[in-house]
């Protein structure tokens, strides 16, 4: 091997680690270059969405399932933290952990019956879950504040540093995203992750290879619910105000659209999808008014032409083209 080849091979071998390091550095420096609070506010929102989308993408892309109700877990996290800190006076960090554990339990209780379903039925059931959650937030106003929302949620802090402006929140939120990103990357590159991609590919084959498909799906569902709950808690502490409208079914479908744009089963794609869909209304004014139409349109178009999702679909197509060309070269 020449030294150039060696260098390229080194990059190829450590591509995941290098990408993570590169992105971390970029995020570290970003607020020093871009200090406009409005822009930082947007990238912070991307971070919160990315956290939900990472988990949801594991569930949709790896477990091969569908959920149209993840905003319910997002909402449980947000309202859970709000109620625990304001009403019950718990310290925010502790509240966040306890709420996440409770959400994991709820997800387990839901997953056991609901994951017997699949396809449309699962979609309807998760949608129903979201409706129930939304109605509870709206109606139970002694606890949730009803339609007018819940305010006065304290900021998070570590020692003397209080996360109360966009600049500090940037570091807090993106730390959560990067840690989750690494955990997810580790997961999909492990034996367990391969078992999950087998489940998404073909359940009978996966079982024949020793994968407990039912358990695997339940575990990924719980994992995605916990990530959504953490994102919700961060959301609450970040804006110190929550209202039911942030956790309706349109939020759920937006999350699914982010997954679809990023690509089924693509961890990096999740970040891309979250970023693109969060930023889209900022770039084109028209989208503000017709947001739901545009989102619906994107969903339909992507699924029609690239059922694996936008980024993954494109990458797969290119990979297959390349491999086919190589196959032809080998043959001739």
């Amino acid at each position: 091997m020449t030294s150039k080849q060696k260098f390229l091979y080194f990059i190829y071998l450590h591509r995941t680690g290098l990408s993570v390091t590169g992105l971390s550095l970029a995020l570290l420096l970003f607020p020093l270059i871009e200090d406009n609070p409005y822009t930082l506010g947007l990238t912070n929102l991307i971070a919160i969405n990315a956290l939900v989308v990472l988990g949801l993408n594991l569930f949709i892309g790896y477990a091969g399932q569908i959920s149209l109700g993840h905003a319910a877990f997002f909402g449980m996290g947000a309202y859970g933290s709000a109620i625990a800190t304001v009403t019950l006076g718990m310290p925010p960090w502790l509240a966040m952990v306890i709420v996440a554990i409770l959400v994991a339990l709820v997800a387990l209780l839901i997953a056991v019956p609901i994951l017997r379903l699949s396809g449309h039925y699962l979609a309807m059931a998760t949608l129903g879950l979201n409706f129930v959650m939304y109605t509870v937030l709206l109606q139970w106003d002694e606890v949730t504040g009803g339609p007018s929302g819940f305010s006065g949620i304290p900021y998070l802090s570590i020692g003397d540093v209080q996360f109360d402006d966009e600049f500090r929140l940037h570091y807090l939120l993106w730390s959560f995203v990067m840690v989750s990103l690494m955990l997810c990357l580790n997961l999909v590159r492990s034996g367990v992750g391969r078992g999950l991609s087998a489940v998404a590919g073909d359940e009978v084959a996966a079982q024949a290879l020793g994968v407990n498909t039912r358990n695997a799906k339940i575990k990924v569902f719980i994992l995605s619910a916990v990530l959504a709950s953490l994102a919700g808690s961060l959301f609450a502490h970040c804006y110190s105000f929550v209202s039911p409208d942030s956790f309706g079914i349109f939020t759920s479908t937006d999350m699914v659209i982010m997954v679809v744009v990023g690509g089924m089963g693509s961890i990096w794609g999740s970040l891309f999808g979250a970023a693109l869909i969060t930023l889209l209304p900022e770039w084109v004014d028209m989208f503000e008014t017709y947001k739901d139409f545009v989102h619906g349109g994107i969903l339909v178009l992507v699924l029609m032409f690239l059922p694996q999702g936008l980024v993954t679909g494109l990458i797969d197509t290119i990979k297959i083209k390349l491999a086919l060309r190589r196959r032809k070269n080998v043959a001739s």
Binding site: N186, G195, S197, V204, A205, A208, V220
Partner: protein, 254 residues
């Protein structure tokens, strides 16, 4: 090693298997033959837990497995291939083989997310084993291709490699050479011979009689869900019932 006792399976009242009884002795290659629709694939599905037999018992190393879920049966050391290929088209060839080592890759999602050093080492050794299997099946130069683009014969070999890479105790092969040309069939036959001489126990479902007669130690004949004969290839070849099952069918279709 594997013993079936009066295994029956009905699909909506229609019997697909009735009272099938035979054993698969350790270290031997047992061939399961029979006309189309005889119930061979159904029998393999019963043995691997894909479907539960309506009645009867299946023992694997003295353990009753007839009602265990498929993943548990797989973890006991029974692996299989599928008549209608079930490889994962989106994964690369190497990743496909690695899925054959899933149960050795660890079970805990938490550990997997932390990727502790011991798991990293294990991943490396699993990858080496998968590469070795690729080599054995002549697929090494295609390791990073998406499995989807492989030619049919290569896909069949990927499935065979996936089923054997984990060194299972018992390998159930559902028509591994169906649709392959003579040359490809010969390489697969060679692999089967190697596996057998390495001491693997196998059950081979196959229509290719030349192959069956050449490499099987024992032949079991199934017709309309009934086990009509068992014996060495030579015994079965001369068995009047078998001749009738095959020739009678041919006479009817001719």
């Amino acid at each position: 090693m594997l013993r079936l006792e009066n295994v029956s399976k009905n699909f909506g009242g229609l019997p697909a298997l009735s009272e099938v009884t035979f054993t698969v002795p350790k270290g031997q290659l047992t061939a399961l033959i029979g006309p189309n629709g005889a119930g061979k694939s159904t029998l393999i599905n019963c043995m691997t837990g894909v479907i539960e037999p309506s009645s009867g018992q299946i023992f694997f190393q003295q353990q009753q497995i007839a009602s265990l879920p498929a993943y548990k049966i797989s973890r006991l050391g029974i692996s299989r291939t599928f008549q209608n290929l079930k490889i994962f088209p989106r994964l690369t060839v190497l990743e496909n083989i690695l899925t054959g080592l899933t149960s050795e890759g660890g079970d805990s999602m938490l550990m997997a997310m932390l990727r502790l050093p011991y798991l990293r080492h294990r991943e490396r050794s699993l990858k080496l084993r998968a590469l070795e299997a690729l080599d054995r099946f002549g697929l090494a130069d295609k390791a990073n291709w998406p499995a989807e683009v492989l030619a049919y014969g290569d896909k069949k070999r990927v499935e065979l490699a996936r089923a054997t890479v984990g060194k299972p105790q018992l390998i159930l092969l559902d028509e591994p050479v169906a649709g392959l040309n003579a040359e490809e069939t010969a390489t697969v036959a060679e692999q089967l011979r190697l596996l057998r001489s390495a001491g693997h126990t196998m059950l081979l479902v196959e229509h290719d009689m030349d192959l069956v007669m050449e490499i099987a130690d024992q032949v079991v004949v199934l017709d309309s869900g009934k086990c009509i004969a068992t014996g060495t290839p030579d015994e079965v070849r001369c068995n009047p019932l078998v001749l009738e099952a095959y020739l009678g069918r041919m006479g009817a279709t001719a």
